[in-house]
């Protein structure tokens, strides 16, 4: 049992994700919305119990006397959640979702629809609606409007409306009971307004909008490659990635939460409600691989727009609109998930220098080129600028992909990604106008990098590439070696590195630590890092060890949450998910692993 579960709370992996591609909610198996930020992923929470405790608000809707949870799943090919409990009076089902397609309709941009049905007999349900805004858990001003049919909770710039059918008078923070009868479902719709008038939406109209939305999601899933291994799992990952893409700007949000802990009760609690160019690049590869070119191009468009003020420097992370995050700070008096404090807002990694990001971005641009998308001149100028930066700065130490604070060193993974950046820039340059002087500079830097990586980044005694120059430790980030074409995937040095990682960073198959535990200067021992396990699947598949890769992939699929979601990390002992949830990087790595297996299995 996790500490949170011991304390009577909800394990992270038991949360379901609801979303509308602008913000997202997390719902526990008891029907309580414990996390919802408005009006965007990175906005202020109105329901924050997840990391803010009971004072931070929640929206509960469940049977008054449940016997147990009968089933809980997303409707196929959609993001609508269906939860059924058994009760003495018969089953009660909660169907819920957020409406994505609001453009062209008089609907608010944030709308959560929840419907209870009791097909076999009247069942009593309990509603607890207790919104609080932001860090101070501010209680709203309460109004009952529209002939008492709408509950309006308002703060200076934000308002929430709650409407029900049949009508029930609801007061925030108070437990209310309703009886759901077989012939009449009970529907609630929550609408949010931020710096705009609140829209009252009839619950029946909201329900119809949700059903229209569901058809839109099914249609979105329909053209995903039908030959993918474990297609259902991959589709869930793609749906999750799409839910975590902020549609107004195309930004990929790393996760919708802040400060879900990497160690229960520990201090490794970070704010992931930002967009990392690295994640955007990995997302481009994942979406391109399954034929979702529009989504891949949207990520590139965000990359180009968001980095405009920093070029040719590539920032580590940005806000959804491409700004630099506000300085990292701790939320006062927030108790954290399972007493894991501090709860942070902002992310201090934004100021780091990470060389590997350039490699991911240029590789994504190359993949787009390979897929037949000729880069616009401006896009190529941007990419070439990034390559120039790499050619000029590759000798400098950097913070590395794991963003360990105060770990400025010569990371081998970063050097490999710098090599990748130059290599891919040279490949793209063959198809786009580039000066000979520039290509000569990149070619020379690439050759120097290769020589230095081969001599300083490889430990002949260990038979493996290592974490940093002179180190004897390995780094799970090196699992990307087979995909770089830096060396033959089946070369002894690559295979030796894979074996060394599996041996040294083993967290109990199929899990891996990302680096030797405890080597990051923070107290406590973090969990196994899930994307690395999926990278291992890909590495094994690409180096010809397909049977091992398939078995590992299947084992990893078994570790998904009951709803097919993944966090960033996993406790190797309890197999509980850790870290911000659900995590886009893990889901993108899963998709790429499936794509690698498909290629490996094809004749």
């Amino acid at each position: 049992m996790s500490a949170r579960a011991d304390a009577g709370g909800t394990p992270i992996e038991h949360y379901a994700l609801l979303g509308d591609t602008r913000t997202a909610a997390l719902v526990d198996p008891d029907g309580s919305v414990d996390w919802l930020c408005v009006p965007r992923f990175d906005g202020r929470p109105v329901f924050g119990r997840l990391v803010g405790g009971p004072a931070a608000g929640r929206f509960g809707l469940a049977p008054t006397r449940p016997i147990g949870l009968t089933s809980r799943s997303y409707r196929p090919g959609s993001v609508t959640l269906e939860t059924t409990w058994s009760t003495d009076a018969g089953p009660l089902t909660l169907t819920e979702g957020m409406v994505t397609a609001v453009r062209g309709h008089l609907l608010p941009s944030t709308m959560l629809v929840r419907r209870l049905t009791a097909p076999e007999g009247p069942v009593e349900a309990t509603i607890v609606f207790d919104p609080r805004l932001g860090e101070q858990n501010r209680s709203p001003r309460i109004h009952h409007r529209h002939r008492d049919r709408v509950l309006v909770c308002s703060w200076p710039t934000t308002a929430i409306g709650l409407m029900t059918t049949p009508h029930v008078h609801i007061d925030p923070g108070v437990s209310h009971r309703v009886t759901v009868s077989p012939d009449r479902p009970f529907t609630l719709v929550l609408t949010v307004a931020d710096r705009e008038p609140l829209t009252y939406v009839d619950p029946e109209a909201a329900w119809n909008a949700l059903q229209r939305d569901e058809m839109g999601w099914r249609s979105w899933c329909r053209d995903i490659d039908p030959t993918l291994p474990r297609r259902d799992v991959v589709v869930r990952s793609l749906l999750t990635l799409r839910l975590l893409t902020y549609s107004p700007s195309g930004a990929p949000v790393a996760a919708p939460t802040t400060s879900l802990p990497e160690v229960l009760g520990g201090v490794r609690n970070w704010d992931y409600r930002y967009a990392w160019p690295r994640d955007a690049s990995i997302g481009i590869a994942a979406f391109l691989g399954v034929g979702k070119h529009q989504e891949a191009r949207a990520f590139l468009a965000w990359l180009l727009s968001a980095t405009r003020l920093d070029r040719p420097h590539l920032p580590v992370l940005l806000t959804l609109y491409g700004k630099h995050p506000t300085p990292e700070r701790e939320l006062k008096n927030w108790p954290g998930y399972a007493a894991s404090v501090p709860v942070r807002q902002g992310n201090g990694a934004a100021d780091q220098h990470q060389l590997d990001g350039y490699g991911w971005v240029l590789d994504a641009a190359w993949l787009l080129t390979l897929a037949g998308h000729r880069l616009y001149s401006e896009t190529w100028r941007t990419m070439a600028g990034f390559a120039d930066s790499v050619a000029a700065r590759w000798r400098e130490p950097d913070a590395g992909i794991w963003e360990v604070r105060a770990d400025l060193t010569q990371h081998v993974h970063s050097k490999l990604m710098a090599w990748l950046a130059l290599d891919r820039a040279l490949r793209i340059a063959a198809h786009h106008r580039t000066s000979a002087r520039r290509t000569r500079r990149w070619t020379a830097a690439r050759a120097e990098l290769r020589e230095e990586i081969m001599s300083c980044g490889y430990d002949p005694d260990k038979g493996s590439y290592v974490r940093s120059y002179g180190s004897e430790e390995v780094d799970a980030a090196l699992l990307i070696l087979p995909q770089l074409e830096f060396e033959e995937p089946s070369s002894p040095r690559v295979l030796g590195t894979l074996d060394a990682i599996v041996h040294d960073l083993d967290a109990g198959a199929p899990l891996l630590y990302r680096y030797a535990p405890g080597h990051d200067g923070l107290p406590g021992r973090e969990g196994a890092f899930l994307p690395c396990s999926f990278w291992l699947v890909r590495a094994l598949a690409e180096s010809g060890r397909t049977a091992e890769a398939t078995a590992l992939f299947d084992d990893l699929i078994d570790l998904a949450s009951p709803l097919g979601l993944y966090g960033e990390e996993m406790d190797p002992l309890t197999l509980h998910h850790l870290g911000n949830y659900p995590q886009a990087l893990t889901h993108a790595a899963l998709v790429q692993a499936a794509l690698a297996l498909k290629v490996a299995d094809s004749p």
């Binding site: 602008r22 994505t100 397609a101 453009r103 941009s109 549609s247 107004p248 616009y376």
Partner: protein, 158 residues
């Protein structure tokens, strides 16, 4: 009204405005790129869009310059400071009214309500264009004041 002045100096003032905004972009102050935004109404290619957008912007600038010339004629004076005042008003209207309205008419610009169905790729400007950087209101306002000042200095009242 000073028609000859309008024909020539409208172009010059709009070019000054555009140049200032491009300088602000190059200086890392704002991501607001008016030629790109206007040009992507007709083409998705950023380079072609900038060329088309510049021409569209010149046309729009000429339209506004006609308004300035008419106002100067009504007031019976065209001075740099009256032009600057008009420019300040123009900048405020552009930031608070014109730029936010683009979301409703631009075929390639997303809105804050964009969802799964959205194929738009240009991010919305947001209130005062703040989505394009914190300095955007200042840059836009200053550029429009410069536009008005230029017209106030160059146009005459006939």
């Amino acid at each position: 009204m000073d028609w000859a002045g309008w024909a020539l100096f409208g172009l010059i003032a709009t070019t000054v405005l555009t140049a200032l905004m491009i300088c602000a972009q190059l200086g890392g102050l704002s991501r607001l790129d008016l030629p790109l935004i206007l040009g992507t109404v007709v083409t998705p290619d950023p380079d072609r869009a900038r060329a088309a957008g510049f021409v569209i912007h010149l046309g729009v600038g000429q339209g506004f310059a006609a308004g300035y010339a008419a106002c100067f004629a009504v007031l019976g004076q065209a001075t740099w400071w009256v032009g600057a005042l008009f420019g300040a008003l123009h900048g405020a209207v552009a930031l608070m009214v014109l730029v936010p309205l683009l979301v409703g008419v631009h075929p390639r610009m997303a809105s804050n309500r964009a969802g799964l169905e959205s194929t738009a790729v240009l991010e919305p400007p947001g209130l005062l264009g703040l989505n394009y950087g914190a300095q955007t209101p200042l840059v836009t306002f200053t550029a429009h004041v410069a536009y008005g000042t230029a017209l106030g200095m160059l146009l005459s009242v006939h």
